[in-house]
Subunit: 345 residues, 2 copies
């Protein structure tokens, strides 16, 4: 697609159907809203595909579509959430995230200023994470046929030779670490949406973790598995890990980092923070003797300052996650059935 | 995510909000609707990212979101359209398409049978094109917040060493070829949507072109550029090529392959078939002395049986596409401004 319009066209303040039609107004949208923020040597080619050299190791490839509502919330936008989420999906597989795609579905009538704000937040997040938005696509649907905007980000990264992380690698005796407080993102969205006001607005933890993950991998040469506890929260991720490796996991409730405002909001709303989505946290499973080194590596970065060892892998009750409560009792932490918080990411 | 459900859960006949929440109902949807059709060694890992080895050459990476309505139409579904479209975006860059992602946004209440039909059509299209659906994601939004379903497919392929196609490569004297009839896809969608009935139902040309493109590349070692004329049709693609290479393009109207039913529908509706989307056609620009070989290669495949040499690249009127009409006059074929046919792909 061409950057420059061959002749002046009408300027609009909102998204028009024609902005998604592949003609001159599509070009105008690209030139006016996307390229000033996202422009880079790959995207500037405006070919149907981005082309780049492979780097040593295996390729990692991932995809996520973001439908969060509202699109602006304390601590982020749908745009930086999309970039950070895909960066993190690559990082937790041991890959160095490098190239992202961005696919937009826009609702007719969306203010272009809102789109511009989202695009700018994507550019900032990509720069922070050290990734390039290499290719993109924009579709427009009629008013009422999507809710403001959805963004798909797919990502390509490279896994250095010899690195092999998998959710099947957990072994009894392993330590389970969490890089920070649980439930911040989900509760930020929910309290914003419901108009609940607490002393402080709860802020999303949306962040790229590839820097923290690189430090962790350096500290723990025998690291077994990493996962980011997004939809379904820590509860879903730990249940998936336990099932995939046919081991049990025991958590220590007292060790779980939870922000006071998040704990308060969860209690008020009757929600278990362990089932709430995070967007800037990683769960790491390592041999016990590497746990302290991982903790130290996490604590050394801003994203990991509240990191904690939260539990251990056990031979007993394979596939099951059990919580040792502060009162000394034990309860099963089940896989969440379904929908507590729709459209959280 | 786990394949098997740890315990029986309620069976639903329609998409529920909980199917997108990352919990047990998400697992059920994966196990019941996605894996039976799309399952393969990469997707079966159900990790947050697919991992595979690089192949020789550069990497090509592309993305497209599909919002076509209706989701079922003569000649295809939103699912095979998404697979074919992304395969073609890779192929026209000279890449061998290998891995696709699939990101679904589903509307609450969508019949699971419809989703299953779409997923099956994706699996069939991927098999035909020889690509693997390597990773996926599903989001659900409330009823009324998207129109049935949208699908993003991103793709990764490999460009063999030494191959360099670009829309900047056109040279005066080059021949311009089109692999078949124009406007089939767009008019299939439009006539379906409007309930127009002609003698025969117009069928979409949705098809993967990587086989045809491989034959063309073998026949034309000095091929300059390829593009698939989707949104905006042949008119938009030729204008983009002319502008990118700062050359003129002259078309010969009499040589343009148009199906009789498509021509009739376009005349009835006052639409220029050259501005209508195609989903199984490629425009190829080659030095004149390789044009016959390309034509022969195209004619040798089912997708290219109606291929034709439709024009040439000229030094005059750079950036402009001019049509020589059947009556001997000349008219400018402009870049379409905007929206003739919304949500065609």
């Amino acid at each position: 697609m061409q950057l420059s319009c061959p002749s002046p066209v009408l300027r609009h303040e909102t998204v028009q159907m024609a902005h998604g039609a592949g003609g001159r107004l599509s070009q105008e949208l690209t030139a006016r809203v996307f390229m000033p923020y996202l422009g880079n040597p790959l995207l500037d080619q405006l070919d149907d595909q981005a082309r780049f050299d492979a780097e040593p190791g295996r390729i990692a490839f991932t995809t996520d579509t973001y439908v969060v509502t509202p699109i602006f919330f304390p601590g982020g936008t749908i745009g930086d959430l999309a970039v950070n989420g895909t960066v993190n999906d690559l990082a937790v597989g041991g890959a160095v995230p490098r190239y992202l795609s961005a696919g937009f579905v826009l609702e007719e009538g969306l203010p272009l200023a809102d789109l511009e704000r989202v695009v700018k937040s994507m550019a900032d997040a990509a720069r922070k994470a050290g990734v390039v938005i290499a290719c993109g696509d924009t579709k427009v649907v009629q008013k009422g046929q999507c809710d403001r905007m959805f963004i798909n980000t797919s990502g390509v990264g490279f896994i250095p030779p010899g690195r092999d992380l998998s959710c099947r690698n957990l072994r009894p005796g392993d330590a389970v670490l969490l890089s920070g407080t649980v439930g911040d993102h989900g509760m930020a969205i929910l309290t914003t949406r419901e108009g609940l006001s607490f002393q402080n607005r709860i802020s999303s933890d949306s962040a790229a973790l590839n820097g923290l993950v690189a430090d962790v991998l350096q500290a723990a040469p025998h690291l077994h598995a990493m996962r980011d506890p997004t939809r379904g929260g820590v509860a879903a991720t730990l249940n998936e890990l336990a099932a995939a490796s046919s081991v049990g996991i025991e958590l220590d409730e007292a060790s779980l980092p939870v922000r006071e405002d998040v704990r308060g909001a969860c209690e008020l709303l009757g929600i278990d923070p362990l089932t709430v989505a995070n967007e800037g946290k990683v769960i790491v499973v390592v041999p016990r003797d590497e746990a302290e080194a991982v903790l130290e590596a996490m604590n050394g970065s801003r994203e990991g300052k509240d990191a904690a060892i939260i539990g251990e892998v056990v031979r007993e009750h394979p596939g099951m996650v059990v919580m040792r409560t502060a009162f000394g009792s034990r309860r099963i932490l089940d896989m969440p059935l379904g929908e507590q918080l729709p459209r959280i990411c």
